[in-house]
Amino acid sequence: MVQKDVRRLTLILLFAPFAMWIALLIIVPHIGMVALSLREKVAPRVYEFGLGNYIDFINEPIYWNTLLRTGSMSLLVTALALLIGFPIAYYIAKIAGNRTRGALFLLCLIPLWVSDLIRAFGWILLLRETGVISTFLQWSGLVSGPIEFLYNDVTVIIGLVYTVILFMIVPLVSTLDGMDDSLVEAGYNLGGSGFTVLRRIIVPYAMPGIVSGCIVVFMLTAGSYLTPILLGGKNSSWFTEQIYDQFITRFNWESGAAFGFLLLAFTSTVIWLGLKLSGQTLANTVAKS
């Protein structure tokens, strides 16, 4: 009897910080956001309840185009991060020796020790018209005039992939680490080619890592602010920039809140669709990784 109470108390104590974190930092602010987004300004200091902010969003193509653009570029970044990250993760988990594994993992982590802002400035120094790469190309005689690599969508994508790829590699390494080498050997023994082994054995085994990596990377990318702003050019709008503008430069908190909520709804829908289309569920992927 006493033991049961103790166990229950332990559970409550262990669970409390998590519950408070979720409630105070996630649920309560979001309820506030929803309430704010449902207010319409009718006159200075006068507000009415209504869906006006959401209707504005639907009626203004600029807004949903930016959201779709942000979504599709985030998907591209996620796919690139997976394509580049998977071989790296496989090498670290399966091919590298025990000592190199630690060192390689550390190398992957090092960029995270530097802030987002500094990393973006690093790219700016490299890519600008008078920057390192352009100067080097001119010096080596490969090109005759300065080239501008900065301020376009390709730069934004490179910068984002660089920023988020670690969040793809870590879950992949930890899943692949648990795979028994004999599974791969068995695949080859039964006459499978390298591609078949990858498709039928490695990828299905790594699926929990792939799914959780993709979800984290997609969410981080769609919600990132600094990288697209600093590296993006005159035509590259990002939806978080739109939210910032609504809150700060236009003093329009109501529609900023609506936009924030729409971004959350949109990214959640994309992830739900992705899971449906790939036939995965959260329970048998993320929960396992």
Partner: protein
């Protein structure tokens, strides 16, 4: 480092209060970057040992957003531009009326003081007094872009891919002036102003092809200009003066339709807790001997009589290289932003940013 000293001074302050020897007060200043040079802060704290100054750097929009979030609490003195007081006060009630008897208004230049008063009086109460003023206009490297005279020269195909601007309201207003319109007069009729904004948007979308990138702050503008990646840009005069110091070919050019002039003000947030300290700071920084220190840091001209003579030598040279007396007469002071205009302009800027025509 700053937090450490702040914590230390807070601790010291608490101890002093506890001991009952002196009433330590904190002046929480919300202002622009470079508007509270360390030298002046120290001088002020020496003169008033019972006041600690805590500085937060910001810009117009963020100042209002910060004060709005708390209903005007958290800061004791703010420095928004003169056109950002009236509507913000009407909408969000974030400032409190000033007690002009506590401010040394006699030393101020009457035209600036009256202008700010006229712009910031609500129900007979004055909400702001001027601190210093400067302009927005153009800058160009005269060896590479000798013909930059007006706002629309940024769209001159001769400088294709070598100009820049900040995608904010200044360039909307400047472009409107260069098209022969007066946007401030159009504020009175918002429908007419919307039509004007649409015309401006078309022009700026067409111009996008000519722009290298939109600058976001003084630092990236300076880097692009000094490296020669751009040869002409819309700019704040103070940024141009700083670059003039490093490269005498880069000069500030008041557009032929008139440079746009702003006045940064002093306003006291509604829930400010150290009004007396705030008034002391206002009078302190407007004293002639302190004006020179302030202007050296900000590159802007103080609102007191004879302020141009109080500029440090290098800034004086830059101002004289940029402005003739006729240019000064031609200044266009930003008019009060009526409620609603902020939103219309915001939409126009979004439209320009999203357009892929260029």
């Amino acid at each position: 480092m700053r937090t450490k000293t702040t914590i230390a001074s807070l601790l010291a302050a608490t101890m002093l209060v506890g001991a009952g020897t002196a009433q330590a007060e904190t002046l929480r200043l919300l202002t622009w970057g470079s508007y509270a040079p360390e030298e002046l802060v120290q001088k002020f704290e020496e003169e008033y040992p019972d006041i600690d100054v805590e500085v937060t750097f910001s810009n117009n929009e963020e100042m209002i957003a910060k004060l709005r979030a708390t209903g005007g609490a958290g800061f004791d003195l703010a420095q928004p531009s003169h056109d950002r007081i009236y509507a913000a006060q009407l909408e969000y009630d974030i400032y409190k009326p000033l007690d002009l008897s506590k401010i040394d208004t006699d030393a101020m230049q009457p035209s600036l003081l009256d202008g700010v008063k006229a712009n910031t009086t609500i129900d007979g109460e004055v909400y702001a007094v001027p601190h210093q003023w400067g302009t927005s206009g153009l800058m160009a490297d005269v060896t590479k872009a000798p013909d930059v005279k007006g706002w629309d020269d940024l769209c001159n195909p001769a400088y294709k891919g070598k100009t820049s601007m900040r995608l904010r309201r200044t360039i909307l207003l400047g472009t409107a002036f260069s098209m022969g319109e007066d946007p401030f007069a159009a504020y009175a009729d918002l429908d007419k102003y919307q039509q004007l904004l649409d015309k401006v948007a078309d022009k700026l979308i067409e111009c996008k092809d000519n722009i290298k990138a939109y600058w976001k702050g003084g630092d990236d503008l300076s880097a692009m200009m000094l490296s020669g990646e751009i040869v002409a840009s819309e700019t704040w005069d103070s940024t141009a003066y700083k670059l003039f110091d490093q490269n005498k070919n880069i000069v500030f050019i008041p557009p032929e339709t008139g440079a746009l002039a702003w006045i940064d003000t002093f306003a006291i947030p509604r829930k400010g807790e150290a009004d007396d300290a705030a008034y002391k700071w206002i009078n302190f920084v407007l004293r002639p001997e302190n004006v020179t220190i302030m202007s050296a840091s900000t590159g802007a001209i103080a609102s007191i009589k004879g302020a141009k003579e109080l500029l440090p030598e290098d800034k004086k040279a830059a101002v004289n290289a940029a402005f003739t007396d006729a240019d000064i007469d031609n200044l266009k002071f930003f008019a009060n932003i009526p409620p609603g205009v902020e939103d219309m302009e915001g939409k126009t800027l979004e439209k320009i940013k999203a357009a892929t025509g260029g």
